[in-house]
């Protein structure tokens, strides 16, 4: 078998890396389309059609990153997978119901009679919201090491709002990039509002994070590495401030640099994600289960790695291809 020379430790690290990549790509990609769903205005038909059009060709593939992430967790770290999903049974169920509702509303709203369209629009908005809140809540509980006491619940609720704000923010940035005119102007307003909430959320979650785990506190505050690591939050808030400035200037820039807010949002996601990664490595469940405790049989991991090495670059390549094909302002969705 190929990769015979890779030890279980190396394989564990490779798979945690792949898992990280899948989660990050999911958060960014499905993040913006969930965010667009959260921002869905109840009463403006034109906005709604244009917003759907901006995410129409992408959402199916975006959601597949979640399937890959949960798949890798299941394949490489089965024990962590069952522990996480059993503790988070109800939030996971609500997330799935949300995903079902929003996913089908996409298609139903375009095909049903005009009179029942508003019903599916409502399903789309609140399905998206249910999904983002559940995901944030799950992230929060996971960070606490799957605790279920009242403090952990409080933290998870905060994370639920934080994640929703983050998704709404990147969703608004996506709309700035993909739409024009009135809707784009509205997207600027949304992005500005979300920016404040997001900055507050990141600050609060980071601070509480330090209180939750002594190991994390030691790493960030007491170790020599801490100083280097501090560049992450500094860079993060620097970017948020920059984004605020960009959002002020852009409306007068006549279409130039419309990609900037989305790019900044992307970087902010990467930085936040990196901070989580650094804080909790080598744990799969913080404080509870390490990569090596949970990693599955090396032979199975080697077998799948052969495929992953060949296929993942292909997936990334044709994903880029699709984004290039649909580059520029989104058009009215039509099947031909």
């Amino acid at each position: 078998m190929p990769f015979e020379s890779l030890s279980a430790v190396t394989l564990g690290n490779i798979y945690i890396g792949l898992l990280g990549l899948a989660v990050l790509l999911y958060a960014v990609l499905d993040g913006y389309d969930l965010g667009v769903g959260v921002l869905f205005p109840p009463h403006n038909e034109q906005f709604k059609d244009d917003m759907i059009a901006s995410i129409g060709p992408y959402w199916d593939a975006n959601e597949t990153w979640l399937v890959l992430a949960v798949g890798i967790l299941l394949i490489a770290f089965p024990e962590a997978h069952s522990e996480i999903l059993q503790t988070l049974y109800l939030p996971a169920t609500f997330m799935l119901l949300g995903l079902i509702l929003r996913g089908v509303s996409f298609d139903f709203r375009a095909k049903v009679a005009q009179t029942s369209k508003p019903k599916w629009d409502t399903c789309f908005k609140y399905g998206s919201l249910l999904t983002t809140l559940s995901q944030g809540y799950m992230l929060g509980i996971w960070v606490t090491g799957l605790r279920t006491d009242i403090c952990a619940q409080g933290f998870a609720l905060l994370a639920a709002f934080g994640v929703t704000a983050a998704y709404a923010f990147i969703g608004a940035c996506w709309l700035i990039l993909k739409t024009e005119g009135e809707l784009q102007a509205k997207a600027f307003t949304w992005a500005k509002r979300c920016l404040y909430v997001l900055a507050g959320g990141i600050g609060a979650v980071s601070a509480l994070n330090l209180l939750l785990h002594s190991e994390v506190r030691a790493l960030w505050l007491d170790s020599p590495l801490g100083l280097v690591l501090m560049t992450i939050p500094v860079a993060c808030f620097g970017l948020l401030i920059l984004c605020g400035l960009v959002l002020k200037k852009l409306p007068e820039a006549e279409g130039k640099g419309e990609w900037l807010p989305f790019a900044i949002a992307l970087l902010v996601f990467v930085l936040c994600f990196g901070a989580f990664g650094v804080s909790y490595y080598p744990y799969v469940v913080p404080g509870k289960l390490t990569i090596m405790d949970a990693v599955s049989d090396a032979n199975s991991l080697r077998f799948l790695l052969v495929g992953a090495v060949v296929v993942v670059p292909c997936i990334l390549a044709y994903t880029v291809l699709v984004y290039r094909i649909f580059a520029g302002k989104s058009e009215k969705l039509s099947y031909y």
Partner: protein
Amino acid sequence: MDVFLLSRLQFALNISFHILFPTITMALGWFLFYFKFRSNLSGHPVWMRIYRFWVRVFALTFALGVVSGVTMSFQFGTNWPGFMEKAGNVAGPLLGYEVLTAFFLEATFLGIMLFGMRRVPNWLHTLATLVVAVGTTLSAFWILSLNSWMQTPQGHEVVDGIIYAKDWSAIIFNPSFPYRFTHMMLASGLTASFLIAGLSAYRLSIGDDKIAPKLALKTATYTAAVLIPLQIFAGDLHGLNTLEHQPQKVAAMEGVWETEKGAPLLLFAIPDEASRDNHFEIGIPNLASFILTHDTAGEIKGLNEFAGEHPPVAPVFYSFRVMVGMGMLMLFSAWLGAFYLYRQGALPDWLSKVFIGMSFSGWVATLAGWYVTEVGRQPYLVSGVLATKDAVTSLPPANIALSFSLYLVIYAVLLVAYVHTLRLMCRKSVGIEEIARDDPETPSRNKMDVATK
């Protein structure tokens, strides 16, 4: 109710709802490629009109398949943690390959297929249609490989209760896999054919007098007429394979309680698990033995040889009859339909009604078939290796009761909405003028139009 029963019910509900949609899209993807191919070849606009109608059906069906599939991917961890902890070394990589090689392919190229026609050259759009069809087939390949391995496991070893993979090609190409894959692909072909035929017949019946539904009806009916005998043949081979590897399942399918020679083929009976025999048997003498052993006096092992190790009889027994009955109905209607369409170019009124009624007949047969094979595997999750009850979660039953009820409600609503929306799409299509739809902007967008004329 206990956790075990609730988890089984929830899994059955999720997978039953999920399979409805891939069963359509797997074959509908190939139909779409065929329509697109014919359009490229002939340049006749009617093929593109058929394509446009059915690509919308595909989009809706695919969306339902995706969202219910995401739910499936969570079920293993939430309700059956023992499955992944004990069989994960085999099941994990197969699921992983499904996601990597199939899911991304179909989901990504779907975007081009649905919305990219104006943005990409025609060849790329045709290619995207092909890639989506290949993607759906690939995902069937991996998931059926895993399911077949659970039925007829090989290529693994068990150490301390944990399953380890030894030989991947033996695992992937396990004994029941070729049969199950063929059987399922044909089932998908029939489901899509009857859906296309049924909805096209419906469109004609409400006064849609265009060429497109007539041509779609013909294409689908002829396809069904060819596929159904193949399916009966493949099903028979699959049955023989099951007899070899899972005789207890066949005994339950045939309702054979005691090992017997010259077993009758039971057309009807009420199996009684308590008294371990059948009531009200109506059978054809010796026929079951003849079908299964090709000898009228052949011996069929009875359920008595598998005490405590065989599936519940009644659900397997009834489901099998529903599947076979539906298959027979498909055979007669498809052949009659093909006969009339070939001879007279149209269906008689009564047969048209039969076709409309059978629009979703593929669902009934497919579900019944899956119940036979899945219930027939009980009490095991992985035949002879891992018992179903050893894999279940230890969550409080109330949690599962809640999620189960929520799924039940949402799935019921979605199923009604789906069927209703298909009907509405048919009705809307009536009002669309044939000529107006022929893409006035670029009359010969297909370069091949010119070339073939």
